[in-house]
């Protein structure tokens, strides 16, 4: 009976993780394929990496995306931390349910809904206030902040709940004003969570196709938009090379985070 269970346990885990990881591994493997036919292996080659670095369109799209992602992550962390702290520590207030709904809906609501609604906001603002005049990097950034903020709120809110309140209470009892308590006591304890939230926001912004499609304008083609317009027609080997580089960066980043955590633990 026990052995059968062990077998089942390993079978489930191996099949499950194979399902999650085979696509990722196949991307990396085929990026080194010599053939133009992405699915037929004909030999090891780095030529797709070379053609990737000659691809000015893809590179400038990547640069724009990195800038938008960094600005998105920073703004989302600032606003999301504020909103998450309110959710965790202000108790119930009037309109609490609406607040929870607004703050968590972007997590699940289909991206096309977020995209069209943000676009209509900017179009209406443009015609009523005369600003923003057109669409571009700025509007993409604003849309991404709205999306990422929801994730930041979830992370911050659950971390604030786990904090030891006695530290805050001690500071308050010693006469520190609440705002000072927040910046001097709460925020430092949140630092690892904020870093994680920043990185997650960065990743989400770097990956978004749908919201960017609605909010982009002439001259503002982000990396996912460029990739999407290429791959909807089929396989593109230079995209495999790009994917392999991004996956490599994530793997290195994860290993680094793991190493830092272990060193601190020791």
């Amino acid at each position: 009976m026990m052995r059968q269970n062990r077998l089942l346990y390993w079978l489930v885990l191996i099949l499950g993780f194979a399902f999650l990881y085979i696509p990722i591994i196949s991307l990396v493997v085929y990026s080194f394929n010599e053939s133009t036919l992405v699915t037929v292996w004909s030999g090891f080659s780095l030529k797709w990496y070379r053609s990737l670095f000659d691809d000015q369109v893809l590179l400038s799209a990547a640069w724009l995306s990195l800038k938008i992602a960094a600005l998105t992550a920073t703004a989302a962390v600032i606003i999301g931390t504020w909103a998450g702290f309110v959710l965790a520590r202000m108790g119930r207030f009037r309109g609490f349910s609406l607040y929870v709904a607004m703050v968590s809906a972007p997590l699940v609501i289909p991206e096309v809904v977020l995209g069209i609604s943000m676009l209509l906001l900017f179009v209406e603002m443009g015609s009523v206030l005369g600003w923003p005049e057109g669409r571009g990097a700025f509007t993409i950034w604003a849309g991404h902040v709205m999306l990422c903020m929801a994730y930041v709120v979830v992370i911050v809110q659950s971390r604030v709940h786990d904090l030891d309140r006695s530290l805050e209470e001690a500071a308050l009892d010693l006469g520190a004003p609440p705002l000072k308590v927040f910046f001097a006591v709460v925020l430092p304890q949140l630092a690892p969570a904020l870093l994680a939230a920043w990185l997650l926001s960065f990743t989400l912004s770097l990956d978004d196709v749908v919201i960017a499609s609605f909010l982009s304008g002439p001259g503002a083609t982000t990396l996912p938009l460029e990739i999407f317009s290429r791959v909807r027609l089929g396989l593109k080997p230079e995209v495999n090379a790009l994917a392999a580089i991004l996956i490599g960066l994530v793997a290195v980043g994860m290993a680094l985070a793991h190493w830092v955590q272990h060193r601190r633990a020791r």
């Binding site: 108790g91 929870v100 968590s104 069209i116």
Partner: protein, 299 residues
């Protein structure tokens, strides 16, 4: 002294109001605008819709056009697309449950060290681009792709299976993309479970299957619901995955809305499609919201 109480009314309001206003301005208001545009007429110009209210010689004229909605409910294609989107989302959610539950269960019952590593394994794909991971499936599912090569090499099939650009490919892509969203909340519930309850069931003579059905399953119910909503709601409006993996006849409401908006530049129609989509999602959204509030209150 609690921090919440130390913020006296003016300070407390100062803390609450800014994020509240921000959300009203950037989430609620845009959505109300979608409702508004869905009732206006289409025109060629900038913006490509007519205003709802016009002031002409001291007379305020309000024009509401239900054209989009009438078309939605009379054209069978739209009705079929909505029904199909709900079906696709339901089957995807069910598949995530069947595949995800055993995975979450096995991770939760692993030794603590192994558990964290396995959990990292589930989270890690989140950090790589979903677009690129879905793209990878094109290479796997194509007629000359990895899967067909493997199956033919094993001698299981003689002719390649047609999967790429079919509904099956869309299901595979959706389950693949949303599986971690189901596993994570479920895992959080399973790992918190009081194991003494299970031991009590065993001591009372329950067989493993019986103990699972009458103890573990009911205790993980909220995790299953949370995970199911995280899969079902976004799947209904999914655009990228059906566009990349599905065929021309894979009917999904997100794709229809996209076509109305970008190809036909019929913004009022696209807005009406969106409104009805959200209306259909109201019950699952309420369920999700209920879950969120309860989680906040349980702490």
């Amino acid at each position: 002294m609690k921090l919440s109480r130390s913020f006296l009314p003016p300070a407390r309001a100062l803390a609450i109001v800014p994020p509240y206003l921000w959300l009203v301005l950037f989430f609620l208001l845009p959505f109300l605008l979608v409702v508004k545009i869905s009732l206006s007429g289409m025109q060629f110009g900038v913006p490509p819709y007519t205003p709802l209210a016009e002031l002409e010689e001291g007379v305020l004229r309000l024009t509401l056009q239900a054209r989009g909605y009438i078309m939605l409910f009379t054209d069978n294609l739209y009705v079929a697309t909505y029904l199909n989107s709900l079906k696709v989302a339901a089957i995807t959610t069910l598949a995530c449950m069947v595949i995800g539950y055993p995975i979450a269960y096995c991770i939760a019952r692993s030794a603590p060290g192994v558990r964290n590593l396995l959990l990292l394994g589930v989270i890690l794909p989140f950090w790589t681009s979903l677009l690129l991971r879905v793209y990878a499936w094109i290479g796997i599912l194509r007629n000359d792709g990895l899967l067909n090569h493997a199956l033919m090499w094993l001698g299981l099939i003689d002719t390649p299976l047609e999967i790429y650009r079919t509904d099956l490919a869309v299901y595979i892509g959706l389950v693949y993309a949303y599986l971690p969203f189901f596993i994570l909340p479920l895992y959080a519930h399973l790992v918190k479970m009081d194991m003494r309850l299970l031991e009590a069931a065993y001591d009372l003579g329950a067989r493993p299957w019986r103990a699972f059905v009458s103890v573990t399953l009911p205790l993980s119910r909220n995790g299953v619901i949370a995970g199911a909503m995280l899969v079902f709601i976004p799947t209904v409006g999914e655009y990228v995955i059906p566009e990349l993996l599905g065929g021309a006849n894979t009917l999904m409401i997100g794709r229809v809305m996209w076509t109305e908006f970008f190809n036909n530049t019929d913004w009022p129609m696209a807005a009406a499609v969106t409104c009805v989509m959200v209306l259909l999602l109201l019950v699952p959204l309420a369920l999700f919201q209920h879950n969120q509030v309860r989680q906040l209150e349980q702490r």
